[in-house]
Every structure is written in C-alpha cells, then in structure tokens.
Symmetry: C2
Subunit: 329 residues, 2 copies
C-alpha cells in the first residue's frame, strides 16, 4: 500500500498541521470513488478524537454586491493579526454549477490567500445542496484537526445554503448594505431571523451617514422580533473593509457571544455544547431521511407512477391523502 492510501498518512499529517496533507484530505472527502470514500471515513474517524472543541465557527452571508470577499479579507487579516489560525470555506452554488470557483476565490481574497496563518478553500462542487453541506461539515472538521481554531464559512444568502450553514456554525453573521430596497429583492425571507448579528458594510466616505441610519433602523426592527432561544439579542454594527472601521468591534462581539454561550448551565453543559450536540443530531437525522428516501425512490417503476399521481394532485383531481393510499396500493 502506498503511503497516501493509508489513513495514518492523513491523520499524522493533519495533526502536524501539514497544509498539503489537509488539501489532499479535503479532496479525498470530496471524492465520490468508493475506495476514496472508505479511506475518507477512516481518516475522519481517526482525527475526530483530536478535533479541539474550542474552535469558533462563524457563518457569513449576504447578497451579491454586499462585499463579502472584501469584508472577509479585512476581517481575516485582523484575525490572523491576532495570531488566529484561520480557515475560510466558501459555498457558492452558482460557481459550483460553472465548476470553476477555486481560482475565483483565491483571486477574490488575494492578500488573505498569501497569509501563512490563513487557509482558503472553496466548497467542493456538489450534485445537491445537501451534499455540499455534508462535505463542508467534514472539511471544517479536517481544518480544525489541522489546527485552524477559527473557521469562516461564506455563503451567498440567496438560496437555501445559508440555512444549512446556520446549522453548522456557532455564530451566524448577516452582511447588509445601507439603503433598504433593491438589495433586499434577492434576499431570502426568513434569513434575518437566523442572524446572530447584522453588519452594514461599506460604511465609509459618502456612505457612512446612510450606513449609520441603516444601523439604527435595523437595530430598532430587530427589537420587534422575538428573542433567540438563548436570550441573545442580535446587535447591528457598521463596518468598512476600506478603513477598517468596525472590524475589531465585530470580532469582540463574536468573542462576547462565545463567552456567554460557554457558561455552564445548571446541569453543567453550556448552551454552546448543547447547540453543537443538537446540530450533530440534526445532521444525522437529515442524512438518515435522505438515505431512507433514496432507498424508496430508487424502487423499480416508481418514478412514472409518482409523476402521474403528482400531476393529479397539482391539478386538484386527487387529494394528497388519497394519493398516498393509491401510491401504496
């Protein structure tokens, strides 16, 4: 067996913080070859006990044009300046379709990509959004095993990927532009209520006053929302990747949130621990449902029968409850 066909090559390399091994391990996790998948599973099982539970996972979303890459570059440089080992994972369904986001991301975050403390990796292309999320979670674990204690996961905020990312991070940040209006058109309803904080970007020059007005407006609006289950009231900040204004305040806010969530409850576990446990269980249940449905839908001859029944349901000729009975006759 050649070294790269053995789990210990990856496990030892990851524990030593070897970036080349990390990149190869991620490629392995992304692979659909059965032999690769078996090896990937052995690697993940091998590193799992060594993944430090102290990492901070931050999801960042916002519509195109909000300045996500510029923000992440400024935010990332601030974090590596504090000595953090930073991994940036990006999920972008559109670039997955075109199949070429790797170079794009490296170019987008030019300074950060050359920082020795930062590791940037676009999410693997996936045939389904669930698949993307699945591999992004495992990529995150590999990065953590390799010593990256801070993970930023970027998503575009217009589809379903942000709900999936929300389910794998400790803190979910929504980037917004000043001047509510056009830029909201592309944003998914419900996303504001997922956010642990809102940051109004591009708060510099002529735009600074508008950004501050937007901050006050959103802050006020969020107070009318029901609070999150943990009692955390999502704040609104302004920031500028150009001047650096608000960038350090945003990190302090995330640290404050982490401290609050890390306090032990009466039963000894923290909100953060229970949150991660719930995320793991939800992930398992999602995969289980996918597997069960996959088994069902790949039955011989089902597709035609199902399509015919769905058509009757859509046309109103068949009640859904009766359609189920007919399907299982």
């Amino acid at each position: 067996m050649r070294p790269r066909q053995h789990p210990s090559y990856y496990i030892d390399g990851l524990r030593a913080g070897d970036r080349l091994v990390l990149s190869r391990a991620i490629t392995l996790v992304e692979s659909r070859l059965a032999t690769d998948q078996a090896l990937a599973q052995a690697v993940l099982e091998g590193v799992l006990p060594h993944v430090p539970p102290t990492s901070v996972r931050v999801g960042i979303t916002g519509v195109p044009g909000v300045g996500k890459s510029t923000f992440i570059e400024a935010f990332g440089k601030h974090l590596t300046g504090l000595g953090k080992q930073l991994a940036v994972l990006t999920i972008d369904p559109s670039s997955q379709r075109s199949g070429g986001s790797i170079l794009g991301d490296k170019t987008r975050m030019e300074t950060l990509s050359m920082d020795p403390l930062a590791y940037i990796r676009p999410s693997p292309a996936g045939d389904s959004l669930g698949g993307v999320a699945h591999r992004t979670r495992e990529t995150m674990l590999l990065c953590e095993a390799a010593g990256f204690d801070l993970i930023l996961i970027e998503t575009v905020g217009v589809g379903q990927s942000e709900t999936l990312v929300h389910g794998m991070v400790d803190f979910f940040l929504l980037l917004m532009l000043a001047g509510a209006g056009d830029e909201l058109q592309g944003m998914k309803r419900g996303i504001m209520e997922l956010a642990d904080a809102l940051a109004i970007t591009k708060a510099d020059g002529d735009n600074a006053a508008a950004a501050d007005r937007a901050r006050l407006e959103y802050q006020h609006a969020l107070h009318l929302f029901p609070p999150t289950g943990t009692g955390w009231q999502p704040p609104v900040l302004t920031c500028s990747a150009l001047t650096g204004m608000g960038i350090s305040a945003l990190w302090e806010l995330i640290e404050k949130h982490q401290r609050l969530m890390s306090q032990p409850n009466h039963d000894g576990t923290s909100v953060r621990t229970r949150h991660r446990q719930q995320q793991a269980l939800d992930w398992f249940k999602t995969l289980l449902r996918q597997r069960i449905e996959q088994q069902f839908f790949t039955q011989n001859g089902l597709t035609d029968k199902l399509q015919a029944i769905e058509k009757q349901v859509i046309n109103g000729d068949l009640l859904p409850s009766i359609a189920i009975t007919k399907l299982f006759l």
Copy 2:
C-alpha cells in the same frame, strides 16, 4: 347498508348544505377506524369535484392573550353581516392534550356560534401535529363543499401549528399587542415573516395611542424585510373588537389581496392558483415522507440500534455521516 354507511348520504347532504351531515362528515374524517377511513375517502373523492375554487382561506394566529376569539367573533359577525357563509376551524395543541376544546370554543365565541351563517368547529384532537393539519385540511374541504365560502383557521402562534396553517391558507394574519416586549417572549421566531398582514388588537380607550405607535413601528420594521415572492408588502393595521374600529378595513385588505393574487399571469394561471397547487404538492410530499419514514422506523430491532447510534452522535463520538454507514451495514 344503513344510509350513514353510504358515501352518497354525505355527498348529497354536503351539497345541500346540511350542517348535521357536515358535522357527521367531519367526525368521519377524524375517525381512526379503518372502515370509517375508507368511507371518509369515498366521501372526499365524491365532493372534491364540487368544492368551489373561489373560497377564501384565512389563517389567524397570535400568542395567548392577544384576543383571538374576541377578534374572530367581531370579524366573523362583520363577515356574516356581509352575507358570507363562514366556517371557523380552530387548532389548539394544548386543548387537544386536555381533550376538551369543543365546549371551550363554543363558549369563547358565543354570539358567532349562534349565527345561522357561521359554523364553528374545533380541530380534531390529533396524536401528531401533522395529523392535525391533515384532518384540518380535509375538514376545510368538507366545509367548502357544504357552501362555506370563507374559512378562518385559528392557531395559537407559539408552536409549529402556524407553519402548517400557513401551508393551507390564502392569507395569513398575525395578531399582535401594542408594546413589543413580554408578549413576544412566547412567539416563535420566523412567524412575522410568514404574515401577509399584522393587526394590532385592542386598539381602543387608553390603549389606542400605544396601538397606533406599535403600528408605525411594525410597519417600519416590515419594510426592512425582503418582500414576499408575490410582491405583496404586508401592511400593519390596528383594530378593536370592542368598538369595531379597523374590522371592515381588514376585510377590505384581504379582498384586495385576493384580487391581486387572482390576476392571471402571462401563462393564464394566477398566483393564487399556483399557490394552491404548490400547497397541494407540498402536502402530498409531506405525507409521502411521513409514510416512507413510518415504514422504515417500524422495522424490527431498529429502535434500539438507532438510539445507541444517536447517543454516540450527540456525544461527538461518531460523525453523523459515519453513523449512517454503520446503521445501514
């Protein structure tokens, strides 16, 4: 065969608008007896072609204390005053647990329950929220077949039932109290973004000024939300069941929404038609998933194995993706 064991007893009775038959048909739909279920299915299939597509289905939700029954009584009387045939269906998971909401609802809406144009029916007790929604949908169809052209479905707004109700109505109304704060504690996050309109209740006497301030605040906050897919911007109104203020304006608003949604698109179908088709398809897919999962989870010996694996997932000893592989070994 006795008359009440034959579908035509129900189908003919419903088409004649017979309320006794309607009540019996609903009881039949709620029944878990296999013979009743077969009969219920035949009845539903028989009436489906006669359900007028012109009915208006309105979901009404709000936390306890917001004055839902008082509001529905005032709103309902206004609607029957316009000659509408009104059916009120209520979903209340808590009273389902205690098993005694029938008398409660009748007492709560004393005037409306004696109105010859109104029909009030609490939702059947259900062992699952899905079951409740399932039977409420069919109850709604029976009411429509019996000539009720306006359906109000009431839910408590603190659990998951409002998402289900949102999935079966044309218009979703959220009732709120003035003075955002305590009453938001019990409200589910995300519910505000489901609403087609907000109504601030109890806008009378000393409370009128506060209600008007709340209206402005919520109106402003909702403008910061992404618009609904249909371009409808949810408005905020104030109303009082005591003085009747705002009650007719609310109905005019719902009529305006119905007119907008009924306009044909370039392909000839209206937003409303496509919305109802999507709801039917979603309902079918939900039932299908439930059925598939039920088949899976009732396998012999699975429960113990699954519980053991879920425990390892929660403890972080096993990655969800690997847990799935182990479960299906």
